[in-house]
Assembly symmetry: C4
């Protein structure tokens, strides 16, 4: 009788993986708000002073919005892929854990960008975080496909739609990041615009092809 | 054969949406407590000093209570709507994500109000946060109704009850916020009173009509 | 046809309530660790210095352990009651939300006690937090019983066991808190000992009667 | 009729235990990122300065990665064991709560090691945390086996695989920790290497025997 290896029986529970994922996304989303720091009370003496101090939070509010959209988009993406799975395996679980690690990095790269919003390094690290999310969600899909983890009745063009979405989105993000040669504000504006299209999902061409 | 678009297959899992929502609400509720700051040990030399320092937390405790009630009310509201759904779609998921974004803002607007409890801007921003929650929960309900996402057997007057609740509550909150022309304390007192009525749910008129 | 009131259809989903509860407990448990502050690197120059600084964390470690046990005990208690429910209602949901509010206060009262471990006020506030948890878990049970929310096949003596547990535990906690007239250390030692008995659950008399 | 004791009916719900576990793991994983502190803006004047400051985060990034792997490995392990359970009991629940306590300690021992990466005490405390996780996951398995909580159809060699995994892993971690007599960097390098083998799970000997 062959020996049973731990690896062949580990990490197969899809429901637990969903619960861990939803937990990590929920916490990462909520931690983002910690970047919105309440102004120090000592420096503020009247309504005008408070209004001024709140105005200074605008860049943080922008990066907060961008990161919330980033997390929302990848949460919807992971959920949409995951739903078509018939079963899990150890490598699928670990690719998802790696993906969740990239998710937990988002609050850090967001804080960094909020604090150094005019610095190219901060913007490129933010983009690297999005790229890592994209590569890992792609790897998860690849694993699910090539190891027969998906339900038998998932139509072929579903898979094509999932892959197309990841590739096009990453091309747009890379283009957005490249715009930092002009200014970080161009990059951020472009990325937020792309994300809003993904979130709102307009039904007219060319957007419906994204 | 028509191409399948990502948007037509994305974000349909209602259970995942519930798990994300419960996670975000749970974290936002728990983060509120971070506003209750333990007094600095250096400044305190005896029991009387500690009692005095704890007394200074009273405004924070009040805003903590108010925000916990806010989150509780909207959690019960979202759950009550959501329960009658037969299926989800992408736009429904994204409206919920936007709603959760407004939820994660509550710890920020609460901290702001606790730190600047006599400032009208802080109070109006807090109210704007409640208004945003109300608009989004209304939008979620509207989407569910107009796109046929609700179960067929939900009686018409259930929907009426859900809409009436959101509209009346927002009118009361707006009235409460307007009381800040007299004093923020009037506003906060009125809003907490309204929330306690919603939480306790007395069975006598006129409260049962709310 | 009578009007349907929101209150009669709200907050009935038991599964959502479980998910929110587990989330709040999980976060409150994890936030406790933030009281264990890593010593400041500037003040430490060798292994001996680090060992000394870590030794100074002992009171925080003790209150951390005590609060983890507190939360564990109430989580097991709430779960054990909740499991016997056939259905929920609005008041049941709100009593649970109030209970969760008391749960989120635990990290605060723990931090306070860790910072002021020799102060009677800090100890009594900690005890007041436990008392509030006990009163609310009792109120939840009372609601479930008197409004017929429990499954029909729950034996009568189950309910007796649940009530007896809450009452005896609160009497022991109150006695423990009263020991602070001698010293807070007596109180903390007694409460931790009681909690360990509840956690370990020895099968010999008199412990099995607790 | 014999009295029903609370202990005989408490803490039996396996689903609640999973939800609490997934919550605690998700939060502990996400809290790790708080060690990656955004450099202070005042000290940084150009891209080069930011790059330099980010380079100083390398040790924190390493301990972050190591702890994420630690938590991932124990999450997969607990899930794999738990999945084979037919029912729970009070002691099983409490052993899991103790295990979750050790999980919540990981962000602390990680922060400590990141701040004092060259200190042997910090490394040994980190290892003690891993050892505690190992002892408790072993105790959970032991309880499940000896009290007949596992499903009847779990093959004998599954259990052997689960035990072998825990024992071998702990031996490797202990060896890694012992390497600190040479240098903490040897220890950390060895432990991360072991963890990557567990995460990647190569299918060739000798790795498949681990």
């Amino acid at each position: 009788m062959p020996t049973t290896f731990y690896n062949s029986i580990a990490g197969r529970n899809l429901h637990r993986l969903e619960a861990l994922s939803d937990g990590v996304f929920a916490i990462a989303m909520t931690l983002l708000v910690l970047d919105l720091r309440v102004p120090a009370a000592e420096a503020i003496h009247d309504e005008r002073g408070l209004a001024h101090a709140l105005g200074a939070l605008a860049p943080s509010l922008l990066t907060y919005l961008m990161s919330f959209l980033t997390l929302g988009i990848f949460w919807v993406g992971q959920q949409t892929q995951h739903e078509h799975l018939a079963r899990g395996d150890r490598a699928y679980a670990w690719l998802n854990i790696a993906f969740l690690m990239a998710v937990t990095l988002v609050p850090f790269s967001t804080s960094l960008l909020a604090a150094f919003i005019a610095y190219r390094i901060a913007l490129l690290l933010y983009w690297a975080n999005i790229l890592l999310l994209g590569l890992l969600i792609g790897a998860i899909l690849y694993r699910a496909e090539t190891f027969g983890l998906m339900k038998a009745d998932v139509p072929k063009d579903y898979r094509a739609a999932l892959i197309r979405r990841v590739v096009i989105a990453q091309m747009l993000y890379a283009f957005g990041a490249a715009l930092c040669v002009f200014s970080n504000w161009w990059s951020i504006g472009f990325i937020v615009a792309v994300q809003l299209v993904y979130a709102i999902g307009p039904r007219m061409k060319p957007f419906s092809w994204l």
